[in-house]
Symmetry: C2
Subunit: 275 residues, 2 copies
C-alpha cells in the first residue's frame, strides 16, 4: 500500500519518544491498529519481538489506515533483550503479576516519568504482551516498572491496540498544551469573526428590553430588575460573536414586526400583563 | 453468544455514567469494540442511531469480546433527537467544525464537567459520528459542546472505538483513586510479605560492609564513607522486602564462601587494594 502524503515525512513524530515493543503479537490487524494509535500520538518507533505471523504482514498494513510510516520502520527482534538493548528505562504494560515486587504506575504517572527521562536524553521502551495472555512473569522481569491501566476491575482486559493507545495518549498529553476549554470564533468569508464587544451586547439588551417593555412582558415593575438580569445572563453565558448579536437583533425585530405593521394601520392589540 | 459470568450482573458499571451515542455507525466490529471499551471503563448505556447494517449485529457481538451486557442493552433510535431526549447535556466528539461557535473541550476537561453534572443528577450523552466522515455540522448542532482529542495534528484521525475509549477512559479517570505509583509487596504462601524494616536493612549493610572491609574493597580509608554511602543508596532505592534482605545476605555469604573455605584450610589469599 502506497503511503499518503500525510503519512510520509516526519508527520508530527517525536523521534525521542518511547519505543513501543510488541512481544509475540498474534494478529497483524492488531499490529496495524497499534501502529495507527502510535502515530495518532506522535510515536513511530515500533519494535516487534517474534510476531507470530511473520513480518512484513499485509493485514498490519491495511489496519494501520495510513500509518504506513510506522509499519515500514518497524523492526523485528529475536528477543526482548535485543529489542530493548539501546534503552535506559523499560516499562511493562500489564496487569500486575503477583510474583514480582516492582513499582506499579498509572499510565499518567508513567508518562510523567518518561517525559522526564526523555528530557535527560534517556531512551524509554514499553513492553506489551500477546493479545491472549499478556506478558509472562519472565518477560515482565525485563522491566523496571509496571504500567497498569486503572479500569473497571470487573472487565479490565483491554485489546492490544487500546492498551497502546492509552499509554501513548498519556505520553502525548503529558506535554500537551491544548487549552482545557476554549470557544473558537466563527470563520466566515476566509477569516475568523470577532467576539461581540460589551457595547454591542448592551445595545442588544436595550433593544430587547425596550420591545419587551412595549409588549408588556417585563411586568410587574418590582419584578422587572430580576427578569432583566436573568434574561441578560442567558446571553452573557453564550459568549456571543458580533454576527450573532446582529442576528439576535434581527430576531427581535422580526418578532415584533407584525405588531408594528398593525400599529402602522392604526390597530392597537391589547397589552398583555405578565406572561 | 452466551455471556460469561464476568459480563453479567452489574459488572462494575456506573448506571449514572454518560450514554455513548453512535450516530450512523458502519461496521458491526466497531460497535463491538466500542462496547468493549465502554465496559472497560464502567459504561453500559450504548445508543445507536441508524446503524448501517441493522441491529442486532453478530459481528458486534463477537468484537465485543465478552462485553455482551453492553451489546444486549444497546438501544436503536431513528434520530439523534430521540436518542438524547432524556439527557441534560450533550457533547459531540469530533474534530471541530469551523461553521459553529461552541466550546471545544479536551476529553479531560469534558470528563470533569460530566462528573459534576452526574453529581447533580443530570444525564450526559456523548455523540460519535460514522467511521469514515464523523459527525456532520447538522449532527454536531445537537450538542452544547465539542470534545476534541488533542492528537498529532499530522495524523489525528482516531478509529471509532479508540475515540470512545479515550473519552470513556478520561471519564473513568476523573473519579479514579488509584495511587499514581505504588510498590506492592510479594504475595507468598497465600499472604503478602512485608517490606523490610530499617533494622533488617542496616544489618544487611553491616554484613556487606564487614565482608567488603575484609576483602579490601572499601579502600582507601578516606574514600570509604562515600563508597559506603553509594552502595547503601542502591539498596535503599529498591524498597527491599524482608525475604529480599534475607536473599541478599545469602548472596554476600555465598560470594565470600570460597575465601572462607580456603581460610579454614589455613590458606590466606593476598588482600586486594581497591578495586
Amino acid at each position: 500500500m502506497a503511503g499518503t502524503d500525510k503519512s510520509r515525512g516526519t508527520a508530527g513524530i517525536d523521534p525521542t519518544g518511547p519505543a513501543i515493543v510488541l512481544v509475540g503479537p498474534q494478529l497483524g490487524e492488531n499490529i496495524g491498529t497499534a501502529a495507527r494509535a502510535m502515530l495518532n500520538c506522535g510515536l513511530a518507533d515500533l519494535r516487534l519481538v517474534e510476531p507470530r505471523d511473520g513480518w512484513p504482514n499485509e493485514k498490519a498494513v491495511s489496519a494501520a489506515s495510513g500509518a504506513d510510516l510506522v509499519i515500514e520502520k518497524a523492526r523485528v527482534f529475536a528477543g526482548i533483550a535485543e529489542a530493548i538493548a539501546d534503552c535506559h528505562h523499560v516499562y511493562a504494560a500489564t496487569a500486575r503479576p503477583r510474583e514480582v515486587v516492582k513499582a506499579v504506575l498509572t499510565p499518567r504517572a508513567a508518562a510523567a516519568e518518561m517525559r522526564a527521562a526523555q528530557a535527560r536524553g534517556e531512551r524509554v521502551a514499553i513492553l506489551f504482551g500477546p493479545e491472549r495472555w499478556g506478558l509472562t512473569t519472565d518477560q515482565v522481569s525485563f522491566a523496571g516498572s509496571i504500567i497498569e491501566v486503572p479500569l473497571n476491575p470487573a472487565f479490565a482486559s483491554l485489546n492490544l491496540a487500546q492498551a497502546v493507545l492509552i499509554v501513548a495518549y498519556e505520553w502525548r498529553l503529558a506535554a500537551d498544551t491544548t487549552p482545557a476549554k476554549f470557544i473558537p470564533t466563527l470563520e466566515q468569508h476566509g477569516g475568523p469573526t470577532e467576539l461581540a464587544t460589551q457595547d454591542d451586547i448592551l445595545k442588544l439588551f436595550e433593544h430587547l428590553e425596550r420591545e419587551l417593555d412595549e409588549s408588556g412582558y417585563l411586568y410587574p415593575p418590582d419584578k422587572r430588575p430580576a427578569m432583566v438580569r436573568n434574561l441578560r445572563s442567558i446571553f452573557l453565558r453564550a459568549n456571543l460573536t458580533e454576527p450573532e448579536v446582529r442576528s439576535l437583533r434581527g430576531v427581535v425585530k422580526a418578532l415584533v414586526q407584525r405588531r408594528r405593521d398593525l400599529e402602522a394601520r392604526g390597530i392597537k392589540p391589547p397589552r398583555r400583563r405578565g406572561s
